[in-house]
Symmetry: C2
Subunit: 347 residues, 2 copies
């Protein structure tokens, strides 16, 4: 009879006690017996977080053997692949080896299904038996390994109708477009800062689809080439060229592109610092500012809105919302041009 673990995995925390597995220094990666609400995965590859892989590769002088040794030593020490310098992890791909008794028949997985993890390796119990290959150009490590998904853990079944690499590229940013789908309604005016990036294009597509004939989507991009691309792919009604770190210029150009009106929603997917005011100023009172960039500063957003007296609803981008993987993969199915662009650009 299997023991029942905590829904969030705290039963695997070794030290310090009282925190969850992401904040823990060391977690239990024993794979011999799983808990009744865990899923055991045979892992074939790790997609190491880019910041983490870069740090490891540089520390090892880009020597593949040393990179492998460092990854092994991190996982042996901590029970998870969490880079001690950057704190970040990555995701894994593998096949379902065993489903705990309490989950069997209650989830949409069966043994042998191919899945990608949608929670970070920085909180996932992992045991590496052997490192098979290091692909430094795509931050990928082929392994013979096992990992645990907790009851609360997120995963996506890999689809049959697109390549594994394409699915992973899209799933990597699945939160933002799925949140866009919830925020944007018929008639919304939407400003998307960073519209030409991977996450930005998916958000633009979703916003165009949701805002209908009476809404308006304006994308802010960094160069004229990106503006032309978005217009040609019909991912926005208008694209404006401006640095998102220049709030006064952003405000002027953004209002001009919306008939002088403030926006209902702004979405920030620019991965540079100091974009908070550019996201806040163009939005109407009671409108919504959606920060999806990890470069967002909580205090600059909070004090910035107060400083200019903007009564806007500011949301912390949550990487998860129900159905986020399906929403994002569907976008690539619905728009062959977008799919082709992703295949050319991100694989």
């Amino acid at each position: 009879m299997q023991k029942k673990g905590n829904k969030y995995g705290s039963h695997r925390v070794i030290e310090p006690k009282g925190v969850l597995t992401q904040a823990a220094y060391k977690i239990d990666n024993n794979m011999d017996e799983i808990y009744s609400n865990e899923i055991l995965i045979n892992v074939s590859a790790l997609n190491i977080d880019s910041a983490s892989f870069t740090q490891i590769a540089e520390a090892c002088g880009h020597d593949n053997e040393k990179i492998g040794e460092m990854i092994l030593s991190i996982v042996n020490e901590r029970g998870k692949q969490q880079n001690p310098v950057t704190g970040s992890g990555g995701m894994f791909i593998g096949t379902v080896a065993q489903i705990g008794d309490d989950l069997k028949g209650k989830i949409d997985l069966k043994e042998g299904d191919k899945v990608a993890s949608l929670v970070s390796l920085s909180m996932t119990p992992l045991k590496i038996n052997k490192i098979l290959a290091i692909h430094e150009d795509i931050d990928r490590v082929d392994v013979d390994a096992q990992a645990i998904l907790f009851e609360s853990g997120l995963y996506a079944k890999l689809p049959d109708d697109m390549s594994e690499e394409l699915a992973l590229a899209a799933l990597d940013v699945a939160g933002a477009p799925a949140q866009t789908a919830k925020l944007v309604t018929e008639g919304s005016s939407v400003l998307i800062l960073g519209g030409a990036g991977k996450s930005g294009m998916l958000c633009c597509y979703e916003a165009m689809k949701r805002c209908g004939l009476t809404g308006r989507v304006v994308a802010l991009v960094i160069c004229e080439e990106d503006a032309l691309l978005l217009r040609r792919m019909r991912l926005c009604h208008e694209a404006i060229v401006c640095s998102a770190t220049e709030p006064v210029e952003v405000l002027e150009k953004a209002l001009a592109a919306n008939g002088g009106l403030e926006y209902d929603v702004s979405i920030c997917v620019v991965n540079v610092k100091n974009c908070e005011m550019s996201c806040i100023l163009p939005v109407r009172d009671d409108g919504t500012v959606y920060f999806f960039s990890m470069a967002t500063s909580f205090t600059r957003a909070a004090l910035g809105a107060e400083g200019v007296g903007k009564d806007v609803n500011m949301i912390v981008g949550n990487g998860y919302t129900k159905g986020h993987a399906e929403t994002t993969l569907s976008e690539l199915r619905e728009n062959p041009q977008l799919k082709a662009y992703f295949e050319a650009k991100y694989l």
Copy 2:
């Protein structure tokens, strides 16, 4: 004829260009001619932000004369009281000296009204003629000075029915209780982390008022004494004692205090780091997590919710919402016990 300035004050920015006055290094503090959408204030006192005042006082060996010189030199250099080390400002008290032509008759102020600024000194043009006194114990500096409020700038008329000090103590945290008033509705279950602090008590009072007979307010506090205090003052239905940095323990105790159910809303007013998971875990899917603490980390919140698969709406505490000053001052008028406690504790 007065020139018209930018609503947000960008016409006063000297360097660097393209940013607003908070992000600027130096702004124009010329008080001889105001713009048509500015308000000129004769300032009688500065309430320096606590982090800023502590830094200045320590750098000056707690010598009042040196503290005064340092404040003068900052304001002469930058045109505003923004501590170059902490980046923070504070607020001011003064009387309305002149209202720009475009604002006259359109705002609820007249010359001679006594006001407190509700935007930070870190973005406010200020010219100090003379420092009159330094009160290190309450971070206050009496001055003969002038300041500018922009068209978008926030202020509160100081009320007649309570002391200036009491009004300031409450206005300092006006955003949190006013946002609580918007978030909590009849029947809501609410968890308030840090319920016994200044902001926490105001939030508790507002939540109790809004959740009605069918709702439930649970306050999390750091010691039994605070729990007794909140219960005795009827500021919550239940108070639990736990460190907000221990998410596993918080989750268990919080659920136990709510009949095993997850909460509709959590509000974080604990001013220490690493409380994000404690705010996220006890909330139901589609519920709301309201971060009001400036110690909140954007990335810990965003990645934390994803890591545990929580589909919650996470909001960045906006220090401003319509009517926030009036909401907060009303709380002290409605609850004499709370008013008496504030007078004893914060003056």
